[in-house]
Amino acid sequence: MKRLLRRQACLLDFTLSSLARRPGKNLGLLLVYGLIVFLLASVMLFTDALRSEARQVLARSPEIILQRVVAGRHALIPAGYLERMGRIRGVTARHGRLWGYFYDPAVQANYTLLVPRNRRIADGEIVVGAGIARTRGLDRGDFLTLRGSDGTARSFRVAERLEGESELVSSDLILLSEADFRAFFGVPEGLYTDLVLTVRNPRELRKVAEKLTLRLPDTRPILRDEILRTYDAIFGWRQGIVFVLLAGAILAFVIFAWDKASGLSAEERREIGILKAVGWETSDVIRMKFWEGAVISLSAFLLGYLAAYAHVFYTSAALFEPVLKGWAVLYPEFRPLPRVDGLQLATLFFFTVFPYTLATIVPIWRAATTDPDQVMR
């Protein structure tokens, strides 16, 4: 055992001196290799972070949203529906929500205006998300003027900026009082955007939804699970594209690795002959080459992965955020929470380190099984 380890240590030592002989070539190789790992890892980490972020947002949304549908379109729902639906087993809470979108031509972006239930906001005041505050240059005490649905401009005093948590949730948000909301959008008393129902037991969801459609035929219940699935599908689709790219990159990489690693120069062949002549076994030669491939691919993997981690979680994936995300104006500082998926890590490792190491060994096999007496000539 000790002998075996010492042998490996010695081979590794030789491999390192051997690699150090061509610093230019091997550093270049390490760089290109590391760059590929970096790109792949960045894509993986980023999409994964996005997806988990979206799930996090949805996890906080209610189990059932009830929308009224008029002529197939989402319409305002009367408060009376809360009573009309009657008692339903499993529903622990219900209330109406007021929210809507507002397009701000000044920055060409949509805001989400929302009347919060868990906090009271004074009339004439608003709380704004970090994205809006940034793009409109707002701070506490400043005024934001928006043109309401009746054409009159209204000024709101910024009482607070929403900071922290996931920017995906809060970036484009404006919180305001119920009275202001109704006045701004012209929504009459007694009407809500939609109703939300809290259901504790997920197994009762289907039943609840069925009862709702029976008792309120002009409504449409939307289950959170369905939204989650839609989101997953969207991200799945995005990832599909990414995976095509990924496959392409991996293919390119394999070709590159093969080309780089498999071309055994006459010099290398001669060296292998010398090693065999002085008493190296074929397996020693292969092990040495294995170390060579492993040293390069492992360091490239580590380098690339760490760089990707920093790229995604410290610079907000600055390189391809616009490509993958689309909402460019309000989310320039999307900072996903650092997370690493073990399976993804393993997949990436397998697809990058493994083929390269293999590619270094295969041609050696051929050379190492040639006769050692070649070196005598």
Binding site: R6, R7, C10, L11, S17, W280, T282, D284, D371, D373
Partner: protein, 231 residues
């Protein structure tokens, strides 16, 4: 030497070697050699270029196998060993000095000397120490850290000798060791060989250089011609 079992006699019985056997360009480089090599002696294979010296040396050193005939070390048959055991013999019994030295470029003299010790799995530091001592013995202590391509011809050859000796072999094999040396360096080489013989090493050389086969330390000269031993 110290502690290692003494070298035994090497015997060649009707050794033949064909290249490209069975093909139109079949060529018999060795055509039946019977030879007995005493341990602790210096033997020189001499003969014109193409007479089969290198081929014979390769077979004795377990670098290749005879097409027919037997090579024995003591009462063990070397010629029929599987590859693994041939490697083992190359590593433990023989030390090689090649005509082109065959040092590995880009590595230091020290690394080159350590190479044959690597697969043995001994203590790395001890191996390094032994390599240093050997280099020191040949006056190369300052050159240990130099890349081998910066060494002069004589330095390169002494590095090659040090490498051949690192695993404490019982038999030193050198193919045309003075072909790339001037006469002063050739004489220096023969002095080193004489020193090794003093310590009990068996030495097997090939050469067509009179500085080698006429040297006083040489015990025996075997003349070859066209794949046969003559006279």
């Amino acid at each position: 030497m110290n502690g290692a079992p003494a070298m035994e006699v090497i015997r060649l019985q009707q050794v033949k070697k064909a290249f490209n056997q069975g093909r139109p360009n079949e060529f018999w480089a060795i055509r039946g050699v019977d030879l007995e090599l005493e341990p602790g002696r210096i033997t020189v294979l001499k003969g014109p270029s193409g007479s089969g010296k290198t081929t014979l040396l390769s077979m004795i050193g377990c670098l290749s196998r005879p097409t027919s005939g037997r090579i024995l070390l003591g009462d063990r048959i070397l010629s029929g060993l599987p590859e693994r055991f041939m490697t083992e013999e190359r590593r433990r019994t023989f030390g090689f000095i090649f005509q082109q030295f065959n040092l590995i470029k880009g590595l230091t003299a020290l690394d080159n000397v350590m190479l044959p010790g690597c697969p043995l799995g001994g203590d790395h530091r001890a191996l390094r120490q032994r390599a240093r001592e050997l280099l020191g013995r040949f006056g190369l202590e300052d050159r240990a850290a130099s890349r081998v391509e910066w060494l002069s011809g004589g330095e390169a050859q002494r590095t090659a000798i040090a490498r051949a000796l690192i695993n404490q072999p019982r038999c030193l094999i050198a193919d045309e060791p003075t072909a790339n040396l001037d006469s002063r360096l050739s004489e220096a080489f023969m002095e080193i060989v004489a020193g090794l013989r003093e310590q009990g090493m068996t030495v097997l050389l090939t050469s067509h250089d009179p500085l080698v086969y006429d040297a006083p330390v040489v015990d025996r000269v075997v003349a070859m011609h066209d794949g046969r031993v003559v006279d």
